[in-house]
């Protein structure tokens, strides 16, 4: 069992708040969220619809900027980063899996996977090699040359996971990754996450509303009305 000292903590937030202004109305989506995620942990953010789970994921994944509070990622306080530095940070340290597979229909599975590696400036040979490695991790090497329209929803989501893994991210963020999948594909994806976490020590933070997902993760952070109301694990 890992201790919760500073070295083991990969994500730490202190009094994180996010307020949206919609017209003349202010909506406080997150209120003073303080939490820690350990390195190599598979954590889930759960709660009812509108509880602020996706908002929290967006703050931690640097897709949005909090109104107040601090976020430390891998020991770096990220509130001072410029937009360009945040983009580079996301590319180098994060992997994302979205509810919709979000892979480019014009590209093959392999090309989709190595897109972030190309953006990082790797050579074509390295991109192909790393892309095939990533596809191997999700069990899709034989589909490398297929385009998205030739693949099932589950396979497309696995391509998206391979893309998220290609730059060997510190943290893999997943925003309801199984919401568009049938139960068999959902199970496959969750087992894949579990395997990546167990075998590679991949830190994963996943937003989900499926209660049974709580059984396979190390920690569950419960949110209600933008506040952390409970933690399990």
């Amino acid at each position: 069992m890992m201790g919760r000292d500073a070295q083991d903590t990969i994500i730490a937030t202190r009094n994180l708040s996010r307020t949206y202004t919609i017209g003349k109305v202010q909506v406080q989506a997150l209120k003073n969220v303080t939490l820690d995620i350990r390195r190599g942990e598979f954590a889930a953010i759960m709660g009812k619809s509108g509880s602020g789970k996706s908002t929290l994921l967006h703050q931690l994944g640097l897709l949005d900027t909090p109104t107040e509070g601090e976020i430390m990622i891998d020991g770096i306080e990220i509130s001072g980063l410029s937009e360009a530095a945040r983009t580079r940070f996301r590319l180098e340290k994060f992997g994302y899996v979205f509810q919709e597979y979000a892979i480019l229909p014009e590209l093959t599975a392999l090309e989709n996977v190595y897109l972030p590696a190309m953006a990082l400036g790797l050579s074509q040979g390295e991109c192909t090699r790393n892309g095939m490695d990533a596809l191997e991790k999700v069990g899709l090497t034989e589909r490398a040359d297929h385009r998205p329209r030739e693949m099932s929803g589950g396979e497309q989501q696995r391509v998206a996971i391979a893309r998220a893994l290609i730059n060997k991210p510190k943290i893999l963020f997943a925003d309801e990754p199984t919401a568009n999948l049938d139960s068999a594909s959902s199970k496959q994806i969750l087992e894949l996450f579990r395997g990546l976490n167990r075998d590679l020590g991949q830190t994963i933070l996943m937003v989900t509303h499926e209660l049974e997902d709580a059984d396979i993760v190390d920690q569950v952070i419960w949110l209600a009305d933008g506040e952390v109301v409970g933690r399990e694990g």
């Binding site: 940070f89 996301r90 590319l91 994302y96 979205f98 972030p116 953006a119």
Partner: protein, 269 residues
């Protein structure tokens, strides 16, 4: 083209070929000032500027499709020398250069060299042609400008629609760390690719189909037949202009699209 009779041969004397506007009877535009329909074999009397008058047998009647030329008549060089009492002398020099529009520079240089004959740029002689050429140039510039505008707007619309339909995809690419400049460059590349394809297709259509077609089937104008001419320099300039327009048309909508926040792009309305 001879519409009646034959061309002159080198040693013909006392024979003349005349344009259809002089001869009359061949559907010319100046029928009222013509000789009223003379035919090959008829005799005409010609008064020269030095006062000499001679009778000539009409050997042929020609039509050049150009009204000014059709008002001319030709005798052989030997015949003209005998009338004017000169030998191997030109009375007029018309200057035409390979580079368009540079003729005006040369008449003075001839004068400086001691040549004092009648020296003119060729458009002075073919004044109507120069006017027509200017009109065609104006039409050319106008259609070119409209073409640029239409091509630019079309590419802008294509890229704009593409950025709107791929808004979420662009948001996700930005979310995973793809730089905005890479996304914008990809749209510029796409627009430039369309423009290059358009230029290649246009040039192939022009050079392989339209130019040969109009050479074979020229447009008939009162002043002569008109075919298409594509100057290499103009083709290159316009292609480059179109490619630059396309790059701008690709840049603007994609740059606008990457201005919105990632969350708005992915989950916005």
């Amino acid at each position: 083209m001879m519409i009646e009779g034959e061309y002159l041969s080198k040693y013909d004397r006392r024979e003349i070929i005349i344009g259809k506007e002089i001869a009359g009877g061949h559907g010319g535009s100046l029928e009222h000032t013509s000789l009223g329909g003379i035919v090959v074999g008829d005799t005409v009397e010609v008064a020269f500027t030095n006062g000499v008058r001679r009778e000539y047998r009409v050997k042929g009647i020609f039509d050049t499709n150009f009204i000014q030329s059709n008002q001319l008549a030709y005798v052989t060089e030997k015949e003209l020398e005998s009338v004017l009492g000169i030998h191997d002398m030109a009375s007029q020099i018309l200057v035409k250069t390979d580079t368009k529009g540079e003729e005006d520079r040369f008449p003075n240089q001839f004068v400086e060299l001691g040549v004092h004959e009648d020296i003119k740029p060729w458009p002075v002689y073919a004044g109507i042609v120069a006017t027509l050429t200017q009109s065609f140039d104006a039409l050319n510039a106008l259609t070119g400008a409209i073409g640029f505008f239409v091509a630019g707007v079309t590419i802008f619309i294509v890229i704009y629609v593409s950025t709107v339909s791929k808004r979420r995809q662009m948001g996700i690419l930005r979310a995973i760390g793809i730089k905005e400049s890479i996304i914008v460059r990809s749209y510029i590349f796409q627009a430039v690719f369309y423009a290059v394809c358009g230029c290649i297709a246009g040039l192939v259509i022009m050079f392989a189909i339209l130019v040969p077609y109009f050479i074979k089937h020229p447009m008939v104008f009162p002043m002569g037949n008109v075919t298409l001419l594509i100057e290499q320099k103009a083709a290159i300039t316009r292609s480059a202009g179109l490619i630059i327009s396309a790059a701008i048309a690709g840049f603007l909508p994609s740059w606008r699209a990457v201005r919105e926040t990632i969350l708005d792009a992915i989950w916005g309305d």
